[in-house]
């Protein structure tokens, strides 16, 4: 049963000399991969929406040459709107999917592993709670937005190529279309980075915190307390500051993102104003709050086995 006594020090020495600590990035990298294995909807859902959209678009190509000829007769602004309409639609469909996916992901990320008790397995490995929570936050803040950008741009590229083939075959020009779609893609990247990543960060932070805290029904825990605060404030002080705060956070980004307020970021004639956005205190307060939410989520994951 026991190894010979003289073999023991050697076995111990060999173990002490075993490979040193892995670089800190390795557990992070593998934790992010594990999230993608577990939550396949992160990429399956937007890809499915893109595929369905492309199918519909291919069918609509039959009517495209006629539509383009009709557009020629219109003034430039309406002509632009007509040409860009399917591209706007594709971006909005995929981004709407992204919003749903990211909200569901954040609510499930830290609840699911406790519900199926697999947290006991994850915790048996040398990965800190901070790494685990940050990996989950980076899915919401980096992976999903980046993936959305890539899928939207790829979808629009396929749409452009398909339309170009049809239009060129009918002897129509495609250069303005390419230029306009390219410009739109840049606007889209800017919109996702400023609004969906930086401005919405505290929302994801809050949802992850609730997900680390709630044993069940994370959606209710994430929404009802906010409603309760608003109602209590209204009854007690007859004010609605909390509601106003939430509303300013939830609507599509602060006005500082774009020069023309309350318009779609992908509309023509809007001008991006990154300077004003970066200088807005709301952005930085939001990021500090996000950091606080995530720190609390790390603490909760440690204590809630």
């Amino acid at each position: 049963m026991n190894a010979p006594a003289d073999a023991m020090p050697e076995a111990l020495a060999a173990r002490r000399a075993a490979p040193a600590a892995p670089p800190a990035a390795r557990p992070m990298y593998w934790s992010v991969r594990r999230e993608l294995w577990e939550y396949r909807s992160i990429y399956v859902a937007p890809l499915a929406v893109a595929a369905v959209f492309l199918l519909g678009f291919s069918i609509s190509l039959i009517r495209l040459p006629g539509k383009m000829r009709a557009a020629m007769a219109l003034d430039p602004v309406r002509q632009h709107a007509l040409i860009m309409q399917p591209y706007h639609l594709s971006a909005m469909a995929i981004m709407a999917t992204m919003v749903i996916v990211v909200l569901l992901y954040c609510l499930e990320a830290l609840t699911g592993e406790r519900r199926d008790r697999s947290i006991l397995f994850w915790k048996s490995l040398p990965v800190s709670d901070r790494t685990s929570v940050l990996a989950k936050a980076s899915i919401a803040l980096l992976v999903i937005p980046l993936l959305t950008c890539v899928i939207v741009v790829a979808t629009q590229l396929v749409m452009l190529v398909l339309s170009s083939v049809v239009l060129l075959a009918s002897g129509l020009s495609v250069t303005t279309m390419w230029a306009q779609v390219f410009q739109m893609s840049l606007m889209l990247l800017y919109h996702i980075l400023t609004v969906h990543v930086l401005w919405y960060a505290p929302i994801y932070g809050w949802l992850l915190l609730v997900s680390a805290w709630a044993r069940r029904a994370p959606f209710l825990w994430a929404s009802l307390p906010l409603l309760a605060i608003g109602i209590v404030e209204k009854l007690a002080f007859d004010t609605a500051h909390f509601g106003a705060l939430l509303e300013s956070r939830l609507k599509a980004g602060p006005e500082a993102v774009l020069a023309t307020a309350r318009s779609l970021p992908i509309d023509p004639g809007t001008h991006i104003t990154p300077g004003t956005f970066l200088a807005s205190p709301g952005l930085w307060i939001g990021l500090v709050v996000t950091a606080a939410f995530l720190a609390a989520a790390v603490r909760l994951r440690r204590t809630r086995g």
């Binding site: 026991n2 006594a5 600590a21 557990p27 991969r33 006991l120 915790k123 048996s124 490995l125 040398p126």
Partner: protein, 292 residues
């Protein structure tokens, strides 16, 4: 040898319920300790404290580290199987190997694959497609391929059939234990681990009520099967426990000379289960002969 686990006054309370009531414990490296106790005695709580899964009061060092503040660092040298079926159900076997190889510096993938080759588990299967026994084999293959200094097993064979349970402990001893590693395990199936252990500890209501090495246990304790007409003479030697069986009295003695006992009846070394019953009975009704 150095202490693998050292605890002083380890306490843990959930509200008004005291799960651990000031435990002192020292486990040297290279030992195999069985922690045995009734349900709710505090076994799992103690293991969770040792593994850094729950906060505690008191002093605790595992391989020289504080498990609560250094869990991730400690897990490079400690592996554990907590209860059963905690492997995520959605994961594929190949993904599991990739992940552990990615995050664990002491994991040997070839070793794990060699273990799995002996089973019917395929790399492409998801955990939810495997039977309970296969999931345990899979978890064991992972744990055995980790060159850890301390292995903690909490009811590792719960819900498995006899064949798997036997295989489990056989491979634990033949493939894993090399004399320098330390193993700490809990189970209800005391008889199955008896021959595996070097040390045994009984825990009851958050306290350690009995702690002996197996050598000590074998030399100190004897069980004698006594015919009813010799029973009064045997009882005069102050047995720590008495039970009836097959028309005889079976008496358990602590530190009584075997030669003297042999005159009363058939003497043998008691099983851990019999000893456990005796100690628990003494706990329930503290008698002068209580074993401490």
């Amino acid at each position: 040898m150095a202490a693998c686990i050292e605890a002083h006054g380890l306490r843990k309370a959930y509200g008004a319920t005291i799960a651990l009531d000031g435990i002192d414990l020292r486990l040297e490296e290279g030992r195999i300790l069985g922690l045995i106790g009734p349900n709710g005695a505090g076994k799992t709580t103690a293991l969770h404290a040792i593994l850094g899964l729950a906060p505690y009061q008191g002093e605790l060092k595992v391989l020289g580290r504080d498990p609560w503040t250094e869990r991730d660092r400690l897990m490079r040298d400690v592996s554990f199987i907590a209860d059963v079926a905690v492997l995520p159900r959605w994961i594929r076997v190949s993904q599991l190997l990739d992940y552990v190889a990615g995050v664990h510096p002491r994991f040997s993938r070839p070793k794990a694959e060699a273990f799995l080759a002996k089973t019917t588990i395929r790399a492409g299967s998801r955990v939810k497609e495997l039977s309970k026994g296969m999931v345990t084999q899979l978890h064991l293959a992972l744990v055995m391929a980790i060159d850890a200094r301390l292995l903690v097993l909490d009811e590792p064979t719960l819900g498995l059939d006899l064949l798997y349970r036997k295989q489990f402990y056989d491979s634990l001893l033949s493939d894993y234990f090399d004399g320098s590693r330390t193993i700490l395990l809990t189970t209800h199936q005391v008889e199955e681990i008896e021959h595996v252990l070097t040390d045994v500890m009984f825990i009851d209501r958050g306290r350690i009520v009995f702690a002996r090495s197996m050598e000590e246990l074998e030399s100190r304790f004897s069980e004698v099967r006594v015919h009813p007409d010799r029973a009064p003479a045997a009882r005069a030697l102050q047995p720590i426990h008495e039970r009836q069986g097959f028309g005889c009295s079976i008496l358990l003695f602590d530190g009584v000379d075997r030669q003297r006992l042999a005159a009363l009846g058939e003497v043998r070394a008691p099983g851990i289960a019999d000893l456990f019953v005796a100690v628990m009975a003494a706990q329930a009704a503290p008698a002068p002969a209580a074993v401490r």
